[in-house]
Each structure stands twice: as C-alpha cells, then as structure tokens.
Symmetry: C2
Subunit: 170 residues, 2 copies
DNA sequence: ACTAACCTTTACGTGAACGGTAAGGTTGTG
DNA sequence: CACAACCTTACCGTTCACGTAAAGGTTAGT
C-alpha cells in the first residue's frame, strides 16, 4: 500500500485526464487562443503536454493557472511582467513538479512545498497591498460624497454655501 | 464682476491662489509633464487657467483631481478610457463649476450638486466592485495556502502524500 | 537686457498586449 | 481517403500610454 504507489501509473488507471485543446480553454475562460499563446511566449504558463501533431494539451491545473493569471490581470490589475514575477519562473516550477512526482525523499518534497508556500504568501501579500490601496481610495471617495451631501443639506436648510474647504465638485 | 471676470483677475483679491506650473505638479505627484499633458489631451483634466504666456496654471483642486486619476490608474487599475467614464466629460464639469459660481439660483446649485453626487456614487460603486473581486482572489490564494500547509503538516506527521484533490503546486 | 530654466505645440518613436492573416500540418468523422 | 475544422509557427498591424526630441516662446533673476 505504500511501496506500490507508482506516480506514473495514473496513466493506466483514472479516466486518463481529459486534456483540452487551446480553443476549448480559451472559450472556457473568455480569452483568445492568441492571448494564451502570448502568455506562453512570456513564460507565464506551459501546457501540460503536446499531442503527436504538436497540438497543445491543457489539463485542469493549467486551466486553473490561467484563470488565476486572468484574475491577476483583470481583477488585480497587474501587468503581465508583474504577473510573471508573482508566478515566477515557470520552468523552475515545472522541474519542481516533476521532481516532486519522482522523488520519495521526504526532505526534498518538504523543500519543494516550502518554496510553493513562500510564493503563495508573497502573492497574498501583493494582493493585500493592492486591496489596502483600493480601500483607501474608497474611503477618500466616500469623504467627497460626504462633503457633497453636507453641502446639499446646507442648501436644503437655506444656509449659505459654506466657505468650501478646498475640494468640491468632483 | 460678472462680465469682466477674467480668470487672471483673481490675482487681485484673495492671497492670489498659489498656482502651480506643470513641472511642480508633476514632481508633487510623481508624474511626468508629458503624462499630465496627455491626460489633458484625453479630456481627463483641464488646468484652472493659463498665464499670459500660455503656461498652464494648476490649483489645489486640479492637483487633487490628478491625484485621484493616478489612484484610479495605479491602485484601481482602470484604463484611462475607464477613468474618463468615471470622471465624465470634463468640459461639462467646468461649465457646471462656472455656472455654480455665478448663479445664485438655489435650485440650479442643487441640481449641480446632485449631479456631482451621482458621479461620486458611481465611482464608489465601481471601486467597491473592484475591491470585491480582489477580495475573492485573496480568498482563493489563501485556500491554496491552506492546502500547502496541510500538505506540509502531513509530511511532518509522516503521513502519506494524500490523493491531492486537484490543485496543488502553485 | 541677458540668460538659464522653464514653458509651448507638433510630431515621430516605443514597449506592452494583443489582433489578424498567411502558409501549412493534424484530427476526427463519413 | 476526403474534407472540414481544428491546430502550428511566423510575421506584420494596432491601440494604449506614454517617451523623446525639435523649434520656438516665457519667466525670473541679475
């Protein structure tokens, strides 16, 4: 039960991972095939494999990674270069993944996971910082809103326009 | 006072608003003069006035507006086109501002403030939406982190690698 | 009045992030 | 085996958001 769990055997059992072709991935994520190839060109991701005829084959993890990239781009507003930094050298990760699958050295597995954990934590920190700055912007906007409602209240009360501290009319 | 209100006349009264030149504004905000002129070209802002020799003159409100634009760009990650939408036609606002200063019709003043209020509230809504998506991304990243720490705990406890649900190694 | 340090407009250049198309190879279905 | 519908690389085009001169005019200090 422990000496026989060959990591390569998964090709034999399971349902043989349902690989997707680039167009299917693109449709699923709302991207174009061109965009996905461009990201690969930048080193942001590498398909799990290639078919005999050199077609790119994506697995669920690839799709997940791409979805994350899209989130970093659209939701977090990072540049592709920054995303590259956050995700870090894909090549190194691929090697790690392979090493992880083939090694049974617990210390090595530990080290690999440690690295992954450090990366994820840097990602979280970056996202948190973005969130903080966004929150600050919201607070400022709400302050402006407050100024305007105050002003409106003054008008309703027939009071004078007030000396207007400095920042009005947005 | 109304037919002759030359924008330069303000030099006469008040403490002569401390107008800034483009370079000073740029330095204060960490932008380049080119960027500021470009934003003007796009209709994102218009300096409060011009000198006799056609130098752009910025007041505190202009600087505030520019800081907001920079925030929308850097912190919120909006495109300049989107920022233009959020800020809306600068020309119209300038006209409103002038009308606001010259009119004493309370109803009109009210309408102008109402408009500004509506704009600010749309801005807040946009920012909140961005914030929500960012928060969701953070939650996902934290989930990944949790997976990794779990995995690490398994290794420390000498347990088996676990079947790994689907998304590991970030 | 001279001069350095600003400013003006105009215009062409650039890197990022793709879009589009050409010229050809691959897959899967009848 | 034909054939439509996909895929491949390669390369040129485009939009956005500026950078970078060029050719002058303005301001402020001496």
């Amino acid at each position: 039960m422990s000496h026989l769990d060959d990591p390569a055997t998964q090709t034999a059992n399971a349902v043989a991972a349902p690989f997707l072709r680039i167009q299917e991935v693109a449709a699923a994520l709302g991207l174009t095939t061109r965009t996905i190839r461009y990201y690969e060109e930048l080193g942001l991701l590498e398909p799990a494999g290639r078919s005999g005829g050199d077609y790119r084959q994506y697995d669920a993890d690839d799709v997940e990674r791409l979805r994350f990239i899209k989130g970093l781009r659209d939701d977090a507003g990072f540049s592709l270069a920054e995303i590259g930094q956050l995700l870090e050298d894909e090549e190194a990760r691929t090697r790690n993944r392979d090493r992880f699958r083939t090694t049974s050295d617990t210390a090595e597995r530990r080290g690999i996971i440690d690295d992954a954990l450090a990366r994820v934590e840097r990602q979280i920190a970056s996202l948190r910082e973005k969130e903080g700055r966004l929150t600050a912007m919201i607070a400022e906007a709400e302050e402006r809103r407050q100024h305007l409602t105050d002003h409106l209240a003054d008008l309703d009360a027939g009071r004078e326009p007030a000396p207007h501290t400095h920042g009005r009319g947005q």
